[in-house]
C-alpha cells in the first residue's frame, strides 16, 4: 500500500461532561453498536491502508479494550497491522503527549521504519465514510506537500472550526482556528495527507522550538512555505466534541439517507464483535423511528431514540428522543425524554427523566435512579 495511517485518539473534551469521565472520545458509543473510532478504522481498512497507528492518551483503557484485537478490522500482523501507542516512561522521556504533533513525534520510529511514501492523519472522533485513495490521487495530481480535507459548511456556523481560505486552484491561502469573524464557509475536517519523509522532517524541525501542534505549528505556520491543497469532501461528516454534537450525531442515524450512506452501503463499517442475541419485542412493545441494539428486550414504547446493546425496557414505559447505552435497565411505567443514559444505568419503576433537545439530561455510567 502507498500510505500508512495515523489516527489521533488522544483528545479529551470537557464539553462532553460526564460522558468522557471514563472513556476517550474515540471510544464514545455511536449509532447503536459502534464506537466513534470504528469509522476511521474502517475507512482505513476499506481504503486498503494496512498499517495503522492509533495514538491515545486520556482514558486509553476504554480504547485499548475496544482495540484489543485487530481482527475485527482485518488488519494483519506482518505486512501491516494495528499499532496502539500510549505514552510511556523511559530514561529520556517521561512526558505525556504535549500536542498532536508531539504525539506523532514521540512515535517517530514508527514513521522512520515504514516505507510507505504517504501518511494519512485522521482523528478518532469523526463520524464519516471516505475513500482515502481519492485524496491520495488528488494529492499526487496537485503535487501538494500537504493535502487537507475540507468541507463547505454553507450556512452552518463555522466559528468552532478551523476555517480555510482557498485560491481558485484549491490551494490554501489562510487558515484560522475558531475565527471570530470567519472569512469563508470552508472548514478543515482534520484529515491530512503528507509525504512521510516530509512529515518526519517537519516534526524534527518544530520540536526543538517547543512547538507541538499539527494545525498551529505545521499547517498554519508553514502555510506560505509549503504547497497545501484542500480536497473538498461533500458527504456526511460529523465531529463529536460536545454533548450537543454527540446527541445530534446519534439522532442523524435515524435518517434513512444517513443510515443508508454510512451503514447500508459497501464498504461496511466494522466493529468489535459483541455476540448478543437478537432483540426481542414482547407483547405491548412499540418501537417507532428508532434504532435498536442486539440483545435488547423491549416491553415498552420507544420513539425517535437510539438504543445500544442489551437495554431492557419495562411495560408501559415511554422513551422519546433519548440515547440509552449498553446494559441500561428501564423499569415499568417510566418516562424518559431527551436524555442520555450512559452504560448500566438503572431507572426504577415509575421514574421520570425529562430533558430538552438542546440540553439533554445525562445520567452517568452505573447511576441508579
Amino acid at each position: 500500500m502507498r500510505a500508512l495511517g495515523i489516527i489521533l485518539a488522544g483528545g479529551k473534551s470537557e464539553r462532553l461532561k460526564d460522558l468522557t469521565d471514563h472513556r476517550a472520545i474515540a471510544a464514545m458509543p455511536v449509532g447503536s453498536c459502534y464506537r466513534a473510532i470504528d469509522f476511521s478504522l474502517s475507512n482505513m481498512a476499506n481504503s486498503g491502508v494496512s498499517k495503522v497507528a492509533v495514538i491515545t492518551q486520556y482514558n486509553s483503557r476504554s480504547l485499548l479494550d475496544h482495540l484489543s484485537s485487530a481482527k475485527w478490522w482485518d488488519f494483519g500482523r506482518k505486512q501491516g497491522g494495528l499499532f496502539i501507542f500510549t505514552p510511556f516512561l523511559s530514561n529520556d522521556n517521561a512526558f505525556w503527549y504535549r500536542g498532536t504533533a508531539d504525539s506523532i513525534y514521540q512515535n517517530l520510529t514508527f514513521l522512520k521504519r515504514s516505507n510507505e511514501p504517504y501518511v494519512i492523519i485522521t482523528s478518532g472522533d469523526h463520524v464519516y465514510k471516505m475513500d482515502y485513495n481519492k485524496i491520495l490521487e488528488y494529492h499526487k495530481q496537485k503535487e501538494a506537500d500537504i493535502t487537507i480535507v475540507c468541507k463547505n459548511m454553507r450556512d452552518g456556523d463555522v466559528s468552532n472550526y478551523g476555517v480555510v481560505e482557498l485560491d481558485e486552484e484549491g490551494r490554501m491561502k489562510e487558515f484560522e482556528e475558531k475565527p471570530l469573524d470567519p472569512q469563508s464557509s470552508t472548514i478543515s475536517v482534520g484529515i491530512y495527507v503528507i509525504q512521510r519523509t516530509l512529515l518526519i522532517k517537519l516534526l524534527e524541525e518544530i520540536m526543538p522550538e517547543g512547538r507541538y501542534d499539527i494545525v498551529k505549528d505545521i499547517i498554519i505556520r508553514y502555510r506560505r512555505k509549503l504547497k497545501t491543497y484542500a480536497y473538498m469532501f461533500d458527504g456526511y461528516w460529523s465531529n463529536i466534541n460536545n454533548v450537543q454534537s454527540y446527541y445530534q450525531t446519534n439522532m442523524d442515524f435515524l435518517d434513512r439517507e444517513v443510515r443508508g450512506l454510512l451503514l447500508k452501503q459497501a464498504p461496511y463499517i466494522a466493529t468489535k464483535a459483541k455476540d448478543e442475541p437478537p432483540a426481542k419485542y414482547n407483547v405491548g412493545a412499540c418501537a417507532k423511528g428508532s434504532l435498536i441494539g442486539s440483545g435488547c428486550i423491549l416491553n415498552g414504547c420507544i420513539e425517535h431514540s437510539v438504543l445500544f446493546r442489551k437495554v431492557f425496557t419495562g411495560e408501559n414505559s415511554h422513551i422519546r428522543g433519548s440515547i440509552i447505552m449498553e446494559g441500561s435497565y428501564v423499569g415499568n411505567n417510566c418516562v424518559i425524554e431527551n436524555a442520555i443514559l450512559d452504560k448500566e444505568v438503572v431507572v426504577s419503576d415509575g421514574k421520570q427523566i425529562i430533558g430538552t433537545k438542546e440540553n439533554p439530561i445525562i445520567l452517568k455510567k452505573g447511576t441508579v435512579v
Binding site: K71, R259, L263, T271, P278, Y281, N282, K288, S290, S294
Partner: protein, 425 residues
C-alpha cells in the same frame, strides 16, 4: 505440540432431507436458527464455553456454506495456533479416496487428526441439535466413573421410546444393553448422539470394527461391540432443553417458541453465550409506521410494516404496509409493500413481491412430498423471487426466480410446488 486433554469431533455431515428445500444447497448444520444463528453454532459455542478449544468438523455434503460460516473460527474464539476448529473433508489416502460411509467411519478416517493432539478423551458431537451443555461436567462424570465411554441421554416419555436408541442401565447408570428403536422399550433413556470416549479405547474399537464393516456407525456397531467386550459405558443424564429440529414442523415450532416472553430456551444468558458469524450488520431500525410485537429481530433489519409472532434474520427488509405473522424470515430477504406472509418459512435472499399473499387457503399436504410439507407451512428456498400480486396457498414449496406466468391465474393452490432449476447461489 501442546497436548490436549479432550478434543471434540463434530459430525456435520447430515443432509437433513426432511427439512426439504431448506437443505437443498447446504448441510443441516448450516441451516439458520433463531434468526441470526446456524444450528452448528450451538455445539461449537458449547465447546468453547466448556473450555474445549480443539474441534474437528467432519463434513462432506455441500460444505461451502458451512466452510464460509466457520471460516477460521474467529467468532467462536477458535482461531488458535494449536487446535482451534478444522473442517475435515474426505481425502485420498495412499492409492484411493473414500467418502465417509458412517458416523464412526468418519472418525476412523480422521484418526491421524485426533492423534496429532494426543488427547486422552474424545467428545463426539452431532451438528443437528439445539441445546446448551457443559461438556466439562460430562467429562468429570466420565472420569469419576472411570468410563470407557459416556453417552449423554435424555429421559423421554416411555411411549416415544420406540423411536430412539434406548440405553438400558443398572442402578448406577452403567449401560448394560443398547437397543435401537425397540418395539418394547425397557427404559426411557434415549441417546442424544453425544459421546465421550477414552481415546485409546475408541481407537482400538475403530480399527477392530473397520475390519468387519465398511460403513461403521456408532449406534449400530461401535457401542454394541463395546458392550459385548464388557467395557465400562455409562449414561449421563441431561435434563435441560434439547431439540432436534429435523422436520419442517419441529423446526418452525422451535423458532416460534423463541418469541414468547419467557421462552424455554434462553439465548440471553451472559455466562453461556452462543457465538455466531454475524459479519458487519448495522443496527436494526424500526420506522415510525411500523408495528413489531412478540418477535425476535436480528441486526440490520429495517421494518416499515407489521410483524407479529415471527423470527427475522439479519438484514431483512419489511416494507410499508407489509404484514408478517407466525413466520420465519431468513437473512437479507425483502418483503415488499402490502405483501401478506403468514405461517411461512422464507429462506435467505428472497424477494416477495408487492401485495403477494402467502400461506392462506386450505391445509392440503404437498403433492410431491406429502411427508415433508404437511403442517400448513409454505416454504421458500433461498434466492427465490415471488412476483407482485400472486396468491400462494399452504404447504407450497417455491424456489427460483418465479415469474407471474408460472402462476395459473396468478395463484398457486395449497400443496403445489414451483421449483425452477438453475437458481443462482
Amino acid at each position: 505440540m501442546r497436548k490436549k486433554e479432550m478434543i471434540a469431533m463434530l459430525l456435520a455431515g447430515g443432509q437433513g432431507s426432511r427439512l426439504g428445500i431448506l437443505t437443498k444447497n447446504m448441510a443441516k448444520p448450516a441451516v439458520t436458527f433463531g434468526g441470526k444463528y446456524r444450528i452448528i453454532d450451538f455445539p461449537l459455542s458449547n465447546c468453547i464455553n466448556s473450555g474445549i478449544d480443539t474441534v474437528g468438523v467432519l463434513t462432506q455434503y455441500q460444505p461451502l456454506r458451512l466452510n464460509q460460516h466457520i471460516g477460521i473460527g474467529i467468532p467462536w474464539d477458535l482461531d488458535r495456533k494449536t487446535g482451534g476448529v478444522t473442517v475435515l473433508s474426505p481425502h485420498i489416502k495412499g492409492e484411493q479416496g473414500a467418502w465417509y460411509s458412517g458416523t464412526s467411519n468418519a472418525i476412523y478416517q480422521n484418526m491421524d487428526f485426533v492423534d496429532a493432539y494426543n488427547p486422552e478423551y474424545v467428545l463426539i458431537l452431532s451438528g443437528d441439535h439445539i441445546y446448551k451443555m457443559d461438556y466439562a461436567k460430562m467429562l468429570e462424570y466420565h472420569k469419576k466413573n472411570q468410563c470407557d465411554a459416556t453417552i449423554a441421554v435424555l429421559e423421554i416419555p416411555i411411549e416415544e421410546a420406540n423411536q430412539f436408541g434406548i440405553m438400558n442401565t443398572n442402578q448406577e447408570d452403567r449401560i448394560i444393553e443398547f437397543e435401537e428403536k425397540p418395539p418394547n422399550p425397557k427404559s426411557n433413556l434415549a441417546s442424544m448422539g453425544i459421546y465421550i470416549f477414552t481415546w485409546s479405547v475408541l481407537k482400538q474399537a475403530l480399527i477392530e470394527d473397520n475390519r468387519h464393516n465398511d460403513s461403521s456407525d456408532f449406534g449400530k456397531h461401535i457401542i454394541p461391540s463395546m458392550l459385548e467386550d464388557e467395557k465400562r459405558l455409562f449414561a449421563y443424564r441431561f435434563r435441560d432443553y434439547w431439540k432436534d429440529v429435523g422436520t419442517i414442523e419441529s423446526y418452525w415450532k422451535a423458532n416460534m417458541e423463541l418469541t414468547k416472553t419467557l421462552p424455554e430456551f434462553n439465548l440471553y444468558e451472559d455466562f453461556w453465550k452462543i457465538y455466531t458469524n454475524s459479519d458487519h450488520q448495522p443496527p436494526q431500525y424500526i420506522a415510525e409506521e411500523a408495528d413489531v410485537q412478540t418477535t425476535t429481530l436480528s441486526e440490520g433489519c429495517e421494518v416499515y410494516g407489521t410483524v407479529y409472532n415471527s423470527v427475522l434474520g439479519p438484514g431483512v427488509l419489511i416494507e410499508q404496509g407489509a404484514f408478517v405473522r407466525d413466520s420465519i424470515i431468513m437473512a437479507n430477504t425483502i418483503v415488499k409493500q402490502g405483501a401478506r406472509v403468514e405461517r411461512c418459512i422464507v429462506d435467505e435472499e428472497c424477494v416477495i413481491g408487492r401485495e403477494v399473499v402467502m400461506g392462506e387457503g386450505e391445509n392440503i399436504p404437498n403433492q410431491a412430498r406429502s411427508k415433508v410439507y404437511d403442517c400448513g407451512i409454505t416454504v421458500l428456498g433461498d434466492n427465490t423471487t415471488i412476483p407482485d400480486q400472486v396468491w400462494i396457498g399452504k404447504n407450497c414449496v417455491l424456489n427460483g426466480e418465479t415469474k407471474y406466468e408460472d402462476y395459473p391465474e396468478g395463484r398457486l393452490e395449497s400443496g403445489q410446488s414451483i421449483i425452477l432449476e438453475g437458481v443462482k447461489k
